[in-house]
Structures are given as structure tokens and as C-alpha cells.
Amino acid sequence: MNEKKNLSLNENTAFNKRKIKDKAAEYVFKLGGFFIILSIILIIFFIGKEALPLIKKYSLISKDNEKIEDIELSKTVEFFGDEYNNVLSIIQSNGEIVFYDINFKKLISKAKLNLIDNEEITSVVSKENGKKYIFGTSTGRVFIGTILYKTSYTDELDRITEPKITFSESYQISDSPVKHIDFISNDEAQTFVAIDLRKRIRVLKIASSNEEDELFSSNQDENAVAKLYDITSDLGNSIPTDIGIYYNGEIIFVSSNKGRIHYWDIANEIDYLDSRRIINAPITKIEMLNGRQAIVAGGEDGSLSVLFYSQNNIVKVRPLIGHSNKIVKLYKANLKKMITSIDESGNVLIHSTTSSKELLSFKINDGFLKTAFATKDRALLTLDKNKINRFNFDIKHPETTFETIFSKVWYEGFDRPEYIWQSSSGSDEFEPKLSLIPLIFGTLKGAFYAIIFAIPIAILAAICVSQFMHPKLKGVIKPIIEVMAALPSVVLGFLAGLWLAPKIDKLLLPIACFPILLIILTIYMPKIWERVKHFVNFKKEGMNYLIIGAPLIIIVFILSLFIGNSLESIFFNSDFNAWMYESFQIQYDQRNALIIGIAMGFAVIPIIFTISEDALSNVPEHLISGSLALGATKWQTALKIVFPSASPGIFSAVMIGIGRAVGETMIVLMAAGNTPIMDFSIFNGFRTLSANIAVEIPEAPVGGTLYRTLFLSSFILFCFTFIINSIAEVIRIRLKKKYAEL
């Protein structure tokens, strides 16, 4: 042994292998560990990122223009685009409808409305999503044009659209040129409403027969009843400025230069209902929103107002701010609740009508002749002398702002602002109501009831186990209580919803009696123990609570069932729940906060118990001995020395318990009734953020507003629990330090 060792650098290859392995391991662990921690951070960023577009600012994506050849654009009355922005329909004043293909930059075809000499088209509107054009002429006639688009594909898979327009018979609505025209068709009638050059308002109702074709029959007189009304006088001195028709075709609105809106019921004959002053300036434009329950009115002063019509009343709900010049055009969006407004200086603003947030603003070039809003809500088109300009945008989430998520919003069909969560309904024209407040309320309510059930039981049990129990017994009892933590919450939820809820529904009063009787029992416990303790020999401290206490608790429980039932049949006619409802209007839902409190309590008790017990047990021995040595009783020591010392730990335990209660999903899903209402009563249900996510996200379209709002709620949940847990952890570490110093 002990040959001379060479201390110089070793060239042994086996040795190098070891070095390489060591270095490799180092890289693996460093990279791996770093990667793991990064991915944990990734989670929160990803969730936040998915939620962010909700509050993103929008801007124009692009602007482009195409030259339009062969068309005398100065003669254009109006123009419209088709669904795919391929075909423009340019309505010329001479009755020509020019169909122009934007992509191929050429004329497709022309159609001609049968006008008399010198008759010109003076107004046109597009109705039924671009399926019908309603024309008003200089001689006071009106026509309906119905358009069919035939699409076919070339060999190169390019789309060719061929429009075909068929015109109806004309109707005489006035003897003076039609300046504004509106139209609606329903099962009962087809109704035209027009304002002519002489400021008269005419309504023409043509009662429908079954076949729409009959409208196109040659002889107007053969048709069933066509009635013409003149309602100008209802306006008094005011001058009408624009027309709107309610979605069911039964109410018409006319705005005036005195800032008022007048409305009539046209379901049977025409009855003037009333008028409301909206603004102090002339109203220049009114537009019915998609869904037609809301109206937007634009004024000469640049004001925009969102109005709801309900029960023969118009209510001004909110203003949309941004313009200072006269509003000349309003366009509703077809798919979302947005309104585009253009003022006379060419400023364009797009607002959300639910949240009144300004979504986009831009300016269109001077010298524009006409404008049109693209059907899929993605572009504004303008026509100037020889070209068509397109302003492209994509507003993905107009419905949400910080306000709509967190404060009260006045939704269509309601009479005042509310906090509502209702993400969808059957109809297409539904206004999504995405306030998170009812859900946050539900989350806190659930956590609250769970905590008040759990805290007394858990903390008092922890005090018992840590202070008044023999270590061996503690070694048995502690794991038993901690088993509760392992129970899957789906089992707790199922028991709560399917077993507990029906039972408590029938046994509410007896269950309410139980705590009271339990306290009474506890008062007499010491006396009972005095008598009994001579007969039993419990070697380990704490056994008495279990062996004597447990059976007595069971007896008290049975007793309270008995007493409760008797009370119920004597005083409350055997139905306490009904009595509550009749006397106090308190509704009892089978699945409610009481059930959740108990079920979530099961989940939260072991957490608070374990951490509190740890904190209480770790109070340094010498403090306790010191107190006892001074002659204090065990209880005094526990109350005055141990508990205060451990209180940061207990506080930390409660925080973690709250965190758990806030995040619980399955129990709530199965036993909370799952309706997003805001009510403090313990007897009805609620919906929490977490249960809401579980229920809604499978059906939410990827990237849509609902989807992102659910990500936002996940983000909120994450942050909330993270912060609570961090506070708890910091407190716990401080406590450890404190104990170490003692």
C-alpha cells in the first residue's frame, strides 16, 4: 500500500467519464429544475394572457381602396355590400341597380327599377340582413326589391357571386318625394313608413295573404287590404327626422327636430301612444339595434343615447360619448351589440351598446359620398368619386369592459341596472350578461358558511388534541381526523346533494335544535363526569371525552330529532319550511348554503385542524411548564399562554382553509343549486366562480368572449388563493423563527 500518488492532472479515461457524468447531471438538474419552475410560472401567465384580450384596445387593421370603373358614382343614392364583401349593389338615382364585383373589378350586371320618366330614387334602405331593398321615389312611390345571390366556383376555386333582384309592385305612399323610408314584414302585414319632402309621415299597411308572390301580382287592387295613414299631425309643430320600427312590427318610432321620439301602436289600426324628450337638440338619426329591443338616437349636438322601449315607455339608459358634431349615419352591427356612428366631419366611432365603451375611432376621407357597413361587422365602406374605400377592423369582445364585469349593467329587457350572470340563451340576438359579481358573491358566501361551520369544530378539537390528550391517544385520533382531508370532494358533494339535502329538507328544525342541545349537554358534562369517573378507569388522558362524550353526543342528536319533530308538528303544522315561507317569505331550496356549509366544512375542518394542532403542539415546552409551575390550571395555560403563542399559526390555518373553500368545485357543483343569484339567505343556493368555470367552459367557443371571461375568473381564483396562501406561509415561517428563538 501507499505507492506514491500523482497529484497532477489525471489522464485516466475512466476518471474523465466520471467528470462528464457529473457535469451532465449538473446540466440536467439545473435545466430541469429551471424548466419546471418556469412552467409553473407559465400557467399563470398563460391564463392571464388568454383573458387579456377582453380589455385590449382596438384599432383599424387596414385600409384599402379599389378603383371603380364605368360607373357614374355621383349619381349614387346608396350602396350596399354583400355578406362576403364581394359584390356591391350600387343604387343609382335613375333606378339602376348596378352589381359590381370588387374582386374582379368589373361590372356583373345591372337591373332597372321600372320608374316613370324623370322619376328618381330618393331613398333606399336595406332590410332583413341584405335580403330586401326598399326604395322610395321622387313621386312618392315605394318598391320592394328582393335579392338572391347565386354563388358558384370557377375552376380555380374562386367564388363567383351572381345577384338577381326581383322587384315588387309599387305602392303610392305619398304625393311628394320620399326622403326616409322604413319597412317591416311579419305574419300579419307588410308595413312601409315614410317621411316625405314636405315633412309628412305616412304609414302604408298591406295585410298579408299567405303567398308572398301575391305582392308581385299585377293588380294592386286585387290584394287584400292596403291601408294608408298620415300621422303627421301627431307631431304637432315638430318636424320628423328619422324612423324606426320595433322588432315585432307593432310599434313605430319617429324622431323629431325637438329632440323627442314619438311612438305609435300599429298592431291593429294606428294609435298614437306618446312621446319622450331624449335630448335638447334635434335628433338626426335613430337606429334599432340587433334584437330590436334597444334604440340608439343620434343628435345634431353629436350626442348618442341608448334607449330601451318597454311597456309603452322609452327609457334613456346610457349615453355614448365621443362625437361633437352632427350625427349623420348610424349602423347597427349584425352579430354583436355595437353601434357605428358617423358625424358630419367624417369621424367614425364604434361603441359597445351594453358597456358604452368606445371601441374604435377613426376618420374617413373627405369628399365621401356614401357609406355602408359590411354585413359581418368587419369593415366600413365608403364611396367617393371613383373608388370604394374599405376600413377594416375586427372587434372581438365588444361586450366586456372592467365595468361590465364588475359593476351593475342595465341590460335589454330589464328596468334597471343589475349584476347578472347569464351567458347564453336560446335566441341568436341574446345579449350576453357577463358580470362576475354574482359568482364572486357566491364564492364568498359558500366559503363563509363553510368557515363558520368549520372553525369552532376544528380549532376547539385542535386545542383538545394538543393540550388535553395523552400522546398515544393523540397518535390515534389525529390520523382519524386527518383522513377527512383525503376524502375526495366528489364523494362529499354526492353525499351532500343526494343524501344530506333531502334529509335536511325534512329535518330542518331538528337539525337547528342540535347545536343548542349540544351546548346544554356540554354545560352538564363536568357534573356527569364527576359522577361517572369513579366507575371507569381511563389511563390515558382524553379518553373520557371520546368514550363518554361521543355516545352522549349521539344521544343528544337523536333527542334533538325527537324534540324537533314534536315541535314541528305542534307549532308549525308539521311543515316548518312552509311556515317560514308563509310568515317571512323565506324560500327554502333543497340545495342551499347550509348544505354546502356542512359539506365544505368536512373538506375544510381537517386542514384547519392539522395546521392549528401543529402550531399549538409546537409551543415550546418550557413556556407551558413555566405557567403550570406558577399554579395556573391547564385551561388557563391553554387560553392565556398556548393559544396566543400559537395564534399566528391558527390564523394561517384559517387562511389556508379559506383558500380551500374558495377553490372547491365539485361540492358546489353537486349541492349548491347552481343558480347565479345574489342572496344572503342561508336557505338558497348560489354559484361559485369555480363551479361556473366547470359548467360553462366545455361549451364556450374557443377565443370568444365567454371563453376569455372564464379564463379571467380562473385568473382571479388563482391570484386570490395564491395571495392567501402566501400570507399564510409567511406567517408560518415567522412563527417557526419565533419558536426557535424562545
Partner: protein, 527 residues
């Protein structure tokens, strides 16, 4: 009284006792109902005062809102009555007896049948039932059931072949689509068509065989009648099991009980998850847990080793530790949302566009599946593993570390030979706790790939054997689904209890073993 505070001490004692009662009460409740599900009770023949009769198992007795005592009977025979259960007032009952002739049949559809046998025809024997040929009658049925099981095996084989053929057919279709997209030569396509023809032919042959076998089963006919005399024809296909409930001895009942428990654990569900077994859910849960463990173990251990052994200890590392700990407290649904957005729509969507274009717009990986669900749960439980691993790494004394290094071992060698092996029990504890958590979690799984009834298992006999994109069943979700989304919740309730019992038992066993290992560890390291 106040000074020695005995009232308060007893208050704490009572709360402790209450907690223990709550735990044991809950577990006891689940055990009681869970175990009772499979016990065959006597079937009562109830004569009502209006002289009509009802047969059924007496399930519960309750006082309804009119203060009448009512009895719930499980009458079965849903195809006869429309419902499985009936409530009758105790006051309407004239007498109850337990007729030994009552026959109970478990069927493949319409649930249980309670009634009387009329005649039985099998192969070439036909017996009309009367009190005297009882034994002969039932012996014949028993032997026919044995025949059924061998035919059932044949049918299984045929079904498997049919499944293979279908699979090959769909692969062929895919190939054709790919080829036609790339516009290759006609030759290949004709070859494929030839193959397809061959497959279709063998399909027809197998189908015929299947049909023949089912015909055989259908040729056995059992005619039964219910208490009111309405008759029904049942064939071997319908009969799963039969017994004479009131004639069973204790031994008989026990063996029936055990066989039903075996069916519960090994068979597929029937009757929209209200009867049969939960084997696919057990299998799905185990498979998912396995995949999750493969992901979480290296992730957790590497991260813990990094934090404890390689990272510079200081405020940053302490902060990271707090973050990791807190992650354990984040609601599980948040992880589910992340799994949905990032794994499924994000990565899964990209995988689909890159590798599974032919299947689009039907998503392959761009929708929930066992892979994504397992990864989501791995992320959820990784903090548990990290904390447990760090705890055990820390417990390895500094002296031993220094000793190894002083002998000239590299850091990696010290880790590999001394530190990690010593920490293994602790790492195992962490893994077990992670598994226990994963078995019980449902919320994140609901949105990442668990379904009520999976059309096929994620592990089967066809390449690549492990289909990570398939959806699967899970015990916890099963409880939620059967309990709350079942059309027939009364009938489903016993099954839910049994499934809940199974789940609780698994979780308790896992947790207890983790605690035991941890305690053993503490003793070992005292040396």
C-alpha cells in the same frame, strides 16, 4: 367552575368527539349503503286491501308530508310498469308474505325482473313449470347459462375480428384520402380497392357467424309472467343471472354477494351506468394515474433536487419554494382551464394540424384525452412531490454528504449513491400522496378528457396499443355522472354509493401507506 375551566375543556373535548363522529359517521354511511348494494334481500309478495298484489324488495319506509307511513318497493319490471319503484301506504297493506317461488332475473336491459316462471325451451327440451318439476326446470336453465358463456366467448372473438376489420377499413380509407390528395398513380388506388373488397368480404363472413351465434342464443326461450299475469319472452341474450331470492340460504346469499362484487369490479356498466360494473372506470383511473406518475416523478424529483442541491440558497430560492408550496393550494379547476387552453387547444391543435390533417375537422389531439388529462394532473400534483422530496433530501444529514465528498466522490455520485437512495421512501411518499389526490380529483378531468361512457379503452390490442388521444372513464367522474346526470337516479343511487365506497377505500389505503412509510422513515433515520 370557571377557574378550572372544565366546561371549556369539555367543550373542546366534545368538538373533538364530534369530529371523530363525523368522520366515522361518513365512512360508516358510505360503507353501509355501499356494501348493501349487492346483498340480495328477500322479495315480498304484498297483498293490498283492495285485493291486488305487488311483488318487490322493500327498500325504505318513510313518513310523507301527510303523516302517513309509506313503503318504497323496488318492483323492477320497468318494461311492464314504466318505473322501477313504487310507494304504497302502509295502511293499504293487507299482508306480506315471502313466496319461495318468486323468480328474480337480472337482465341486459330493462333492469331486474321479479315474477313467476312459466315455461322454458332450450335446444330440444321444453318444460312447462309447475311446483313439482322445479329442480329439473332450474337445472335446465343453469345448463343453458353454461352454454351461453361458451357462446359468449365465441361471440367475443367474432366481435374482436369485426373490430379489427373495421379498423383496417378505416386505415385504408385514410390511405386513400392521403393518396388522392397527393394525386398519385391509379395503380395504388386500385390495389387499395382490392384490399377493401377482401376486407368487406371477410366482414360479411364474420357478420354471418355472429348472426348465427346470436340466433342460437335467441332460440332458447324463457317465458315468465309478473304478479298480474302479464307474460314476457326472454332469451339467453337477456338473461344475465337468476335466483330464487326467498329460497337462498345464507351461504347462497353470500356467494351471490361475492359474485356480484366481482362483477362490479370486473365488468362493464349496463343500463346507462346504473347496473353492472365499473371496470372501465377503474382501468381508466389506473391508466391515467400511471401516465401521470411517469410524468410527475421525474419532474418533481428533478425540481426538488435542483432546489435543494444545486440552486444557490438565499431569498430567491426561498421565494421559489413558497411559490411551489402555494401552487398546491390553487384550485384544481384552474389547472383544468390551463390544460384545456394550453395543452388541448394550443399544443393539441398544433399536433392536429401538423400530423393529423386527414382527420380534421374532427380533432385527434385537439380535444380532451387521457394524455392531456394525465399531464394536467401531473402539473396539479407536482408540488406535492417536490415538497415531499425536498423534505426527505433535507433529512439526509450533512455529515453523510460531507463524508461522501471527502472520499472524492463527485456531486452526482454522491446524489446517485447516497442521497437519492436514502430519500427514496420520502419520494415514494410524495408519489403516493400525488396518486391519492389524482384518484379523487374530478373537476379538472371533466374538462380535459373524461367521459361518461368511453367507446373504447385507451389501451387495446391494436397498434400503437396505447392510444393517448382517446377519452377515458374515471371513478370519481363516474360518481358525479351517475349521481347527477342519470335518467333514473333512484335506481342509480346504490351504485353510486358502492363506487364512492370503492374510491374511499382506495384513497384511504394509499394515504395510510404513505403515512406508514413516512413513520418507518422517521424511525430508520433516528439511527
Amino acid at each position: 367552575m370557571k377557574k378550572n375551566g372544565s366546561f371549556y375543556i369539555w367543550l373542546t373535548g366534545c368538538m373533538m368527539a364530534l369530529s371523530v363522529l363525523l368522520v366515522s359517521g361518513l365512512i360508516g354511511l358510505v360503507m353501509y349503503y355501499g356494501f348493501a348494494t349487492f346483498w340480495q334481500k328477500d322479495v315480498a309478495l304484498v297483498q293490498l286491501k283492495n285485493n291486488s298484489y305487488i311483488i318487490g324488495e322493500i327498500k325504505k319506509k318513510e313518513i310523507n308530508f301527510n303523516n302517513d307511513l309509506t313503503v318504497q318497493l323496488k318492483t323492477g319490471n320497468r318494461d311492464f310498469y314504466g318505473v322501477d319503484f313504487r310507494w304504497i301506504k302502509d295502511s293499504e297493506i293487507q299482508s306480506i308474505s315471502y313466496d319461495k317461488e318468486i323468480l328474480h332475473i337480472e337482465r341486459d336491459e330493462w333492469g331486474s325482473f321479479y315474477g313467476y316462471p312459466k315455461s322454458f325451451e332450450h335446444k330440444d327440451k321444453k318444460i312447462t313449470y309447475n311446483k313439482n318439476n322445479k329442480n329439473e326446470f332450474y337445472n335446465l336453465i343453469n345448463s343453458s347459462l353454461k352454454d351461453k358463456s361458451s357462446i359468449a366467448k365465441k361471440i367475443n372473438v367474432i366481435n374482436k375480428k369485426i373490430g379489427e376489420i373495421n379498423f383496417k377499413l378505416s386505415e385504408l380509407e385514410k390511405e386513400k384520402r392521403v393518396l388522392s390528395r397527393v394525386n398519385l398513380n391509379e395503380n395504388k388506388i386500385t390495389k387499395l380497392d382490392e384490399k377493401k373488397l377482401k376486407l368487406l368480404n371477410s366482414y360479411k363472413i364474420e357478420e354471418k357467424k355472429l348472426f348465427e351465434n346470436i340466433q342460437i342464443l335467441n332460440s332458447t326461450k324463457l317465458v315468465v309472467s309478473d304478479i298480474e299475469g302479464a307474460t314476457k319472452l326472454l332469451t339467453l341474450v337477456n338473461i344475465i343471472r337468476f335466483n330464487l331470492p326467498n329460497e337462498l340460504t345464507l351461504r347462497g346469499k353470500i356467494s351471490l354477494y361475492l359474485s356480484k362484487i366481482w362483477e362490479f369490479l370486473s365488468d362493464k356498466p349496463r343500463e346507462s351506468n346504473t347496473e353492472g360494473g365499473v371496470f372501465p372506470a377503474i382501468f381508466g383511473t389506473i391508466l391515467m394515474v400511471l401516465i401521470m406518475s411517469i410524468a410527475v416523478l421525474p419532474l418533481g424529483v428533478i425540481a426538488a433536487v435542483y432546489l435543494n442541491e444545486y440552486a444557490k440558497q438565499g431569498k430567491t430560492v426561498a421565494l421559489i419554494r413558497i411559490c411551489v408550496n402555494n401552487l398546491a393550494g390553487v384550485p384544481s379547476i384552474v389547472f383544468g382551464v390551463f390544460g384545456l387552453g394550453f395543452f388541448i387547444y394550443g399544443i393539441g391543435g398544433s399536433i392536429d394540424t401538423l400530423f393529423y390533417q386527414d382527420n380534421l375537422p374532427s380533432p385527434t389531439y385537439g380535444t380532451g384525452g387521457i394524455l392531456w388529462a394525465s399531464l394536467t394532473l401531473a402539473l396539479l400534483t407536482v408540488p406535492v412531490v417536490i415538497v415531499a422530496t425536498e423534505e426527505s433530501l433535507n433529512a439526509v444529514s450533512k455529515g453523510i454528504r460531507d463524508g461522501s465528498l471527502a472520499l472524492g466522490a463527485t456531486k452526482w455520485e454522491t446524489l446517485r449513491n447516497i442521497i437519492i437512495p436514502t430519500s427514496l421512501p420520502g419520494i415514494l411518499t410524495g408519489l403516493i400522496l400525488a396518486i391519492s389526490r389524482a384518484t379523487g380529483e374530478v373537476a379538472p378531468l371533466m374538462i380535459t378528457g373524461v367521459v361518461k361512457l368511453a367507446p373504447s379503452m385507451p389501451l387495446d390490442g391494436y397498434f400503437p396499443y396505447l392510444h393517448l388521444e382517446r377519452k377515458f372513464m374515471h371513478l370519481g367522474f363516474h360518481i358525479y355522472d351517475v349521481g347527477f346526470q342519470s335518467p333514473n337516479s333512484e335506481a342509480a343511487l346504490p351504485m353510486v354509493f358502492s363506487t364512492a365506497l370503492l374510491l374511499i377505500l382506495i384513497v384511504i389505503v394509499l394515504n395510510s401507506s404513505a403515512i406508514l412509510i413516512r413513520n418507518r422513515l422517521k424511525l430508520k433515520h433516528k439511527g
